[in-house]
Amino acid sequence: MTDILVLTDHDGAAPKKVATQLLTAARGLADDAAALLLGEGAQGAAEKVGAYGAATAYVCDAPEVDAHDTEPKTAALLAALEASGASVVLYPAEPFASDVVARAAARVGGGVIGDVSDLAREGEGIVATKQIFGGDMTSRCTVRPGLPAFLGVKPNAFAASEVGGSPADVVPLDVAFDERATRVRVVEVVEESSGGRPEMTEASMIVTGGRGLGDAEGFALIEELADALGAAVGASRAATDAGWYPHQHQIGQTGKTVAPQLYLGAGVSGAIQHRAGMQTSQRIIAINKDPEAPIFSIADLGVVGDLYKVIPPLIEEVRKRAS
């Protein structure tokens, strides 16, 4: 019997990076993990989960999955739980997957723990570790024995590794989509250009611009530095509120929580609401004119100076040393 089912995001050809991390984590927790792949192209990616140790790949690529929001995926997840007998679901801790899982958990009376940074088997159960209150505290929590557990794992919490397993056994799921599963229709998917930059919550480096930029044009410099480093671009609330950069890039209490290998803040003062979204970053660099800016109290390296003077030669240095 399968112990763990992994909600496996894919691009139609292979599992996505975060999914390979989840599959690797599942392998460390149970002898028998299975994957669930949903939507268009699921078949094409399914066999490949075998390389990460999942023996079985449940697949549902019915058109309803992409044409309707959330609920067909919940129906497929419940069908996969039934078919596999799994009692634990690992899913990527991102908003849309959380919705799918929240509905499933409410249906079956399970427990959901999101934003998990580490997992360990302890006795019969799995103990999850997560940062709470903006990283001020660490919580160890679990789902009561006997109840289905839905555990949302943060990107890069686990390093993906292949085990060279044989292609997974692909099992198509026969899911009946009733009226409730199709009551929210997807009208359009609108994607603005990411400029080829990595997604903020998955990036290993993030360059963040704040109020100190002074205007929207300042973000051109932030983007240039980000591109030199191969980093994502973040923004403080002051910058998104001013309309200088899109809200989805906001880091902090009312935006995203990030924990990259490197966070570089330029013109970011480091108000507590911002720190709540980035203070668990592995390394922090701050550039700010104000020597009293609170961000300096948590920065591993602080530069007191004008970001418009410091960043152009920094871009040159980065390009020079990277080549």
């Binding site: 929240a102 958990a105 409410a106 009208v187 997604e199 903020m200 809200h247 550039i287 300096f296 003077k309």
Partner: protein
């Protein structure tokens, strides 16, 4: 149209948090409670509909201790028509699913077209309650919404994604959760603050809602907190004064990145 805005009382982010070691819940007396900022965006969106659609009523729903009435009055000061409070000692320590069960029980007794709430609370930050609530009430949900159009029963929403949005449509009644980009909340007017004191507030306990106390609160939650420990505060590292040309600062950063093997 009748809109209900579920709201939460949360500790101020800036305040120092303390945990009750008996059950690892937040010691809510240790810090000043405030209205969850994300729920203010929900209230603002509801008020904009009320101002546009004649006969619209907006009601707040809050689960929390009796002292949460201060937070409820704050919500009412935005011009809402009334509020429902669910208060019962047994709800303390409820996780997201148990919270959704209590709110769903309160909502099962209400007529409404829309539930509009923040995408998450600033303390627990799970984002789970809106979807769970929709599931328990058998309603469609439009979550993480940054743009909402209400045309009679027809609802069109833009759900925020990392690089744009997904446009989705459904029919009321529905659950809507909103993100910060949706609007700029107003400040309560003096008139609104005065009027809030006189708005009807209905208070219910679990018995009135027919909820078994064993299914909620600490004991009735599927998730269990085993331990909470403070993280050691970060230490400030090296601080370099730039020479005014930018080169000193740039070199210091590049050297440090190389030293950390990030370059």
């Amino acid at each position: 149209m009748r809109i209900i805005c579920p709201v939460k009382r949360v500790p101020d982010t800036a305040a120092e948090k303390r945990m009750n070691e008996a059950d690892w819940t937040v010691d809510r007396d240790a810090s000043d409670p405030i209205l969850n900022a994300n729920d203010e965006w929900g209230i603002e969106e509801a008020m904009r509909i009320k101002e546009r659609v004649d006969g619209t009523e907006v009601i707040a729903l809050c689960m929390g201790p009796e002292s949460a009435q201060q937070t409820i009055r704050k919500a009412l000061s935005y011009g809402l028509d009334g509020a429902i409070q669910v208060t019962d000692d047994a709800v303390a320590g409820s996780d997201a699913a148990a919270t959704a069960r209590v709110l769903a029980a309160a909502l099962a007794e209400e007529e409404f077209d829309l539930l509009i709430m923040g995408n998450q609370s600033s303390d627990a930050r799970t984002t789970l309650v809106p979807a769970m609530l929709a599931e328990l009430l058998d309603l469609p949900a439009l979550t993480f919404v940054k743009h909402l159009e209400v045309d009679g029963e027809r609802l069109l929403a833009h759900r925020e994604t990392p690089n744009g949005h997904v446009a989705v449509e459904t029919s009321a009644p529905a659950v809507v959760s909103v993100v910060e980009a949706i609007n700029e909340p107003r400040y309560p007017s003096f008139k609104g603050i005065m009027a809030a004191k006189k708005k009807p507030l209905e208070v219910k306990d679990l018995a009135a809602l027919g909820v078994d106390p064993a299914t909620v609160g600490h004991a009735g939650s599927a998730t269990q907190v085993l331990e909470v420990t403070p993280r050691p505060p970060r230490q400030a590292g090296a601080k370099v004064e730039d020479d005014g040309s930018g080169q000193a600062g740039a070199t210091a950063i590049a050297d440090w990145l190389a030293e950390q093997k990030l370059l």
